[in-house]
């Protein structure tokens, strides 16, 4: 689920007809000064990174003059906030505020519907609000076929208890929010706070938006700007992670390859599908091993996809062995797994005498997989052993390899 940057969210809201504060993107202190000068009013400077909780991390500053805006931008630009490098900042007109509200649209998995949540208490983290003031949050579920009518939104805000004179505006704004939410295939669109100005205008001053990666085929404009694959990570993607995303995207309709780099670890893990990867990672840790990565390769990938993923796994620094394992496959061809993995091993000139590789691959075409692995001198098992046993054996092989290399060092 890709998160958008705030300027992209504001663009979409504005195009949907919503009144938003004036804003500019600046990539240098000079650009920040120019933007503030043009607006001619006090501004807010915000780090443009795809995460929430920017204020707490020091990514939101206030400036009354263009020079102040420039120095604020200088403070934030180039720093790491919430694991992301700040490459640009948003310069936003600072509004006069008489009241702060909260409004969001989000996909509620349990209700299997879009949920609209409103509160009279804005500017606070909604998770905090949910715990500390559950009564302050009201919600409704939208019928996906009927959409959200303004009167329903007015009823919600009435229930929330806002001033009656705001109902008309809030009703229209909430219906706009829902239309933008659906038309961008978003899974979250949060306006927090949504502020009321002295003359009764209602305007979002912070927007958080995430869109569904799976819908990017019908969102060409968004697809060009979001980093696919980022939704699975808590940080910017590493080079090897990007490499696997590219491998996966090269053949989008044939199999899936996902890779997450861990900090440290020495066992390369080539496995899948989703559930079995979880079980194997647990089992390796349980046996005292340290996986260097998480990965899922399944859905009957091509040899090319297997090869590209295996190569990334093996290229990580500090990897000293490889476990190749799947749950007994239903459609993934284990011989294609064997071919791709062996090609990566050969390509990188890996010496199996010092680098243990163990395969537990059973299921479709297992006879050929066995032949291929064995012919290359790789320790192979089908369903003679469980995933647990495979993990345990792998950890044993790592220990043996370490002992052998210690022996070699001493012999020298």
């Amino acid at each position: 689920m890709a998160r958008l940057l705030e300027n992209q969210a504001l663009d979409l809201l504005q195009r949907g007809g919503m009144l938003v504060p004036r804003y500019e993107v600046a990539a240098s202190p000079e650009e920040a000064r120019d933007a503030a000068e043009q607006m001619g009013v006090p501004v807010v400077i915000k780090a443009l990174i795809p995460t929430g909780k920017r204020g707490k991390a020091g990514g939101i500053l206030f400036a009354s003059t263009p020079d102040e805006a420039a120095s604020c931008a200088e403070k934030i630009l180039g720093t790491m906030l919430n694991s992301f490098r700040v490459n640009s900042v948003l310069i936003e007109e600072r509004l006069e505020v008489t009241q702060e509200l909260y409004l969001s649209a989000a996909i509620d998995h349990r209700a299997q519907a879009t949920s609209i949540i409103a509160s009279r208490t804005g500017g606070v983290d909604v998770e905090t609000l949910r715990v500390e003031h559950p009564d302050a949050l009201k919600h409704l579920y939208v019928d996906p076929y009927l959409g959200l009518s303004e009167f329903e939104a007015r009823q919600l805000w009435h229930e929330v208890g806002v001033d009656a004179h705001l109902l008309q505006r809030l009703g229209a704004l909430t219906a706009q929010l829902y239309r933008t939410f659906v038309s961008a295939d978003a899974f979250i669109l949060e306006l927090n706070p949504l502020v009321v100005s002295p003359d009764g205008d209602v305007t979002p001053v912070a927007a958080l938006m995430g869109v569904d990666d799976a819908a990017m085929f019908r969102q060409p404009e968004l697809a060009a700007t979001v980093q696919v694959g980022l939704e699975r990570s808590w940080k910017a993607l590493t080079e090897l992670e990007k490499q696997v995303v590219a491998v996966n995207e090269a053949e989008p309709y044939r199999g899936t390859a996902r890779y997450t780099e861990m900090e440290g670890g020495d066992i390369g893990l080539f496995c899948g599908g989703g559930g079995a990867s979880l079980v194997l990672f647990d089992a390796l840790q349980h046996a005292g091993g340290q996986p260097a990565n998480y990965c899922e390769v399944g859905g009957n990938p091509t040899v090319e996809k297997v090869y590209g993923t295996a190569k990334a796994i093996l290229s990580k620094k500090g990897v000293k062995g490889l476990l190749v394992a799947h749950s007994i496959t239903n459609n993934t061809q284990t011989d294609a797994v064997a071919e791709g993995v062996i090609r990566a091993i050969d390509d990188l000139g890996i010496d199996l005498a010092t680098f243990p590789v163990l395969a537990r691959e059973a299921g479709v075409n297992e006879e050929r997989a066995e032949q291929l692995f064995r012919a290359r001198g790789i320790e192979y098992y089908g369903d003679q052993i469980t995933l647990n046993e495979a993990a345990r054996l792998m950890v044993e092989r790592m220990r043996e390899a370490e002992r052998n290399s210690d022996g070699l060092e001493e012999g020298r």
Binding site: H109, P144, T256, G274, L278, V279, S327, N388
Partner: protein, 298 residues
């Protein structure tokens, strides 16, 4: 007996001419399950592995009285195919397709709910009832007997791959499955573990229900609530994979898209504890699972 699939299932595949679908058709027929018809607009009159192809599902239904379909179409076409199935009165719809846009899933599930149709999936590997040699989807691959043999265990899994691995574990323990259901790895799915636990409850053949879960969502918590509310239920044995994810920073997704851990919700250890407190048995490893199966059924 079994759930969802039996000798009255009259199955069609929507999108039968695709590569995966024709492979699944071949494997399914070889297993002894019957597929009455296929649908692919523009390819009516052709056959796939001897199965007649129709331009519309409506014609297939008229000719063969179809009541069950598999949706083998790309993500962008899933919504329309499910709508076609619901409008033609199909009662059981299995969706193997992964990466269906969430807004489409919300709509198709609302449609199915209003028509009383059951959806299994999206992102489901399928359903198999070995006693009837009936299977829906890729489950079991070209050799279902390797993992799936008839027996008293009802199997529910969020992971397709683990459906086979767990069934194999049950087989190694000396038993087999009544019906195995891969419910799909997405957070938005048509049939939850709780829904299927209810169905297994009413199935004579099933003596034990085994469930494999993953991090994220509230499926396990909902299942725990259901189990604890009724002490007369059949024994339930659960394993939730991915305990390591709890050591990772919040917001990281492992396994299926649904496996997002947020605050305390979604944590495997919490899910396991809730299930245990509710009276279910829990296994930390597959080896433990086998031991539990024997302890209950021997």
């Amino acid at each position: 007996m079994s759930i969802l699939l039996n000798n009255d299932s009259r199955i069609a595949i929507q999108g039968i001419t695709g590569r995966e679908a024709s492979m699944v058709t071949r494997h399914t027929l070889a297993y002894g399950s019957s597929i009455m018809a296929g649908v692919r607009p523009g390819k009516g009159g052709q056959t796939v592995e001897g199965v007649p192809v129709y331009d519309t599902l409506a014609t297939a239904c008229q000719e063969h009285g179809i009541n069950t379909t598999i949706i083998y179409v790309p993500p962008a076409a899933v919504y329309d195919a499910v709508a076609e199935a619901v409008h033609n009165g199909i009662r059981l719809i299995n969706i193997p397709t992964e990466n269906v846009p969430q807004h489409d899933t919300i709509k198709l599930m609302a449609l199915a709910r209003s028509a009383g149709a059951r959806i299994v999936g999206p992102n489901s590997l399928g359903i198999i009832s070995p006693h009837h040699r009936a299977k829906l989807g890729a489950i079991g691959g070209d050799n279902p007997d390797k993992c799936f043999v008839p027996g008293p265990v009802g199997l529910i899994s969020r992971s397709g791959g683990m459906t086979a691995e767990v069934a194999w574990t049950v087989k190694q323990a000396g038993y087999g499955v009544s019906t195995a259901v891969s419910i799909g790895g997405d957070a938005l799915i048509g049939s939850s573990p709780r829904d299927l636990m209810e169905l297994f409850q009413a199935d004579d053949e099933t003596k034990l229900v085994v469930y494999f879960g993953e991090p994220g969502t509230t499926f396990e918590e909902d299942l725990a609530d259901y189990v604890s509310a009724d002490k007369e239920l059949k024994p339930l044995l659960c394993m939730v994979g991915g305990r390591f994810t709890e050591q990772m920073p919040e917001g990281t997704v492992f396994g299926h898209a649904a496996s997002l851990i947020s605050a305390n919700a979604g944590r495997p250890s919490v899910k396991m504890r809730r299930l245990k407190e509710a009276g279910a048995m829990v296994a930390v490893t597959l080896d433990e699972m086998a031991a539990h199966v024997q302890a209950v059924l021997d």
